[in-house]
């Protein structure tokens, strides 16, 4: 069973996209833990740890990804979750993508991504349990 944490860090108050992803992943047979809006990186990493997820899907629309995302990745890795796949969605300008990948994000999915592509990405890239 694939367990995914869908997380909304920072101050933006729109989680429509995150909810669409959560439903699509559920419909693909995954267990999705959704933590709601306004999460700190610490809360997200702690939830990922307690829930023992294989995937953390972060959605950021506010433009705060350059500060928030590397913090989340570092905290998750510090907790010993080396293999957890970290995905990023939301509004991430093209020029920021390389920095996000450098920070340890496995893939960035922008607006308009077909949810089937995300599901396929997850099932292909998860390390065998």
């Amino acid at each position: 069973m694939i367990r995914v944490l869908v997380a909304k860090p920072g101050l933006d108050g729109h989680d429509r996209g995150a909810k669409v992803i959560a439903r699509a992943l559920r419909d693909a047979g995954m267990e999705v833990i959704y933590t709601g809006l306004h999460q700190t990186p610490e809360q997200i990493a702690d939830a990922a740890l307690q829930e023992d997820v294989q995937v953390v899907a972060i959605s950021v629309l506010s433009g705060a990804h350059p500060t928030l995302v590397p913090r989340i990745v570092n905290l998750v890795r510090q907790n010993g979750q080396e293999d957890v796949l970290i995905l990023l969605g939301g509004i991430i300008p093209e020029q920021d993508v390389p920095a996000m990948l450098d920070a340890g994000v496995a893939a960035v999915f922008g607006p308009g991504t077909d949810t089937r592509d995300i599901i396929a990405y997850i099932t292909e890239h998860l390390p065998a349990a």
């Binding site: 069973m1 999705v32 959704y34 709601g36 740890l49 023992d52």
Partner: protein, 320 residues
């Protein structure tokens, strides 16, 4: 003791998290781990919190956890949500309302999906409880939507059952009819600042009067406003009193026996399910069905064969 078992006993969060995954997955690694941990259980006060959707269970659980932390206790939380019967997937959203408590290192919360197995839920829930108990949490809260048989079974796993209601939902009495009255040790009327709270309290009280003349533990009715934490300290006091009652009245031993009986029943049902599944997947299944249809074999006999673990195909099958 395995490495993982040791990490649970040392209360390493990552170890507890992984152990929960292992026991939830079941199979022999899960059983092995539970066997190791079992001698270290029995310390926690396990409290089930149930009630219809929207009554405020998650907020209340968050409040109880915070209050228990204030009193120096550690808290484990298991929040159960249904899996989709169609895809097996689930959205587990109980964390949304449990943010206050879950950031504290003395609180560990895990979301559990029902995974659509009949009865399997209460088994994986019982297993999760044992992991958290072995990890030394003082209070373990189990939250479920009180909608059906499986939830009532889960409540049977705990020591104290809290049934949460709220005014104005209109389904309070329905919930009582569904058998929840019998399992409640403590009633909570949440959202008690709203209109109709008095009526809800009165309804519960009159139902209780109908049920028993002088129960050894008359379930208290606590009014709370979970959002402002009002009444939550009273609720925790009631939970403590119930725990003392269980110990002093000797009911606790009875409950443990009851819980063991429940787990054994569950294990038998699970084994039977697996054997039936294996038989159905066997190549002779359709022939077996045709034999029964033609009156050549008796369903009861075939059932006996399946339960004994033999393949129901060839033995005893006579060619027409």
């Amino acid at each position: 003791m395995s490495e993982l078992g040791g990490r649970v006993l040392r209360q390493e969060r990552a170890g507890v998290a992984r152990a929960l995954t292992v026991v939830e997955r079941g199979g022999s690694p899960g059983r092995e781990l539970l066997r190791e941990l079992f001698p270290h259980t029995g310390h926690a006060h396990v409290v089930g919190v149930t009630g219809a959707p929207g009554v405020g269970k998650s907020t209340l659980v968050d409040g109880i956890a915070l209050e228990a932390r204030r009193r120096g206790r550690t808290v484990g939380i298991i929040a159960v949500d249904p899996s989709s019967p169609f895809t097996g997937g689930a959205i587990l959203g109980d964390r949304i309302r449990m943010q206050d408590a879950v950031m504290d290192a003395g609180v560990f919360m895990r979301s559990l999906a029902s995974r659509g197995q009949t009865g399997g839920l209460s088994r994986s829930c019982a297993a999760s409880l044992e992991v958290l108990d072995a990890a030394g949490f003082d209070l373990i809260l189990v939250e479920t939507v009180g909608a059906g048989q499986s939830e009532i079974e889960i409540m049977a796993l705990g020591h104290t059952t809290v049934v949460v209601m709220a005014p104005g939902l209109g389904d309070d009495i329905q919930a009582i009819k569904a058998g929840i009255l019998e399992i409640a040790d403590v009633f909570v009327v949440n959202k008690a600042d709203r209109e109709g709270a008095d009526r809800t309290v009165r309804e519960i009280r009159s139902m209780l009067h109908l049920a028993a003349l002088a129960p050894p533990w008359p379930p208290p009715i606590i009014r709370t406003v979970a959002q402002t934490r009002q009444g939550v300290a009273d609720l925790l006091d009631s939970l403590d009193r119930h725990q003392i009652f269980l110990q002093e009245s000797g009911t606790l031993a009875g409950r443990r026996l009851h819980r063991t009986a429940h787990l054994l029943r569950q294990a038998v049902t699970d084994l039977a399910d697996r054997r039936l599944q294996a038989a159905m997947e066997g190549g002779d299944w359709e022939l077996v069905l045709r034999d029964i249809l033609a009156g050549r074999r008796d369903p009861e006999d075939v059932a006996g064969t399946i339960l004994s673990g033999e393949t129901p195909g060839s033995p005893g099958r006579k060619e027409p």
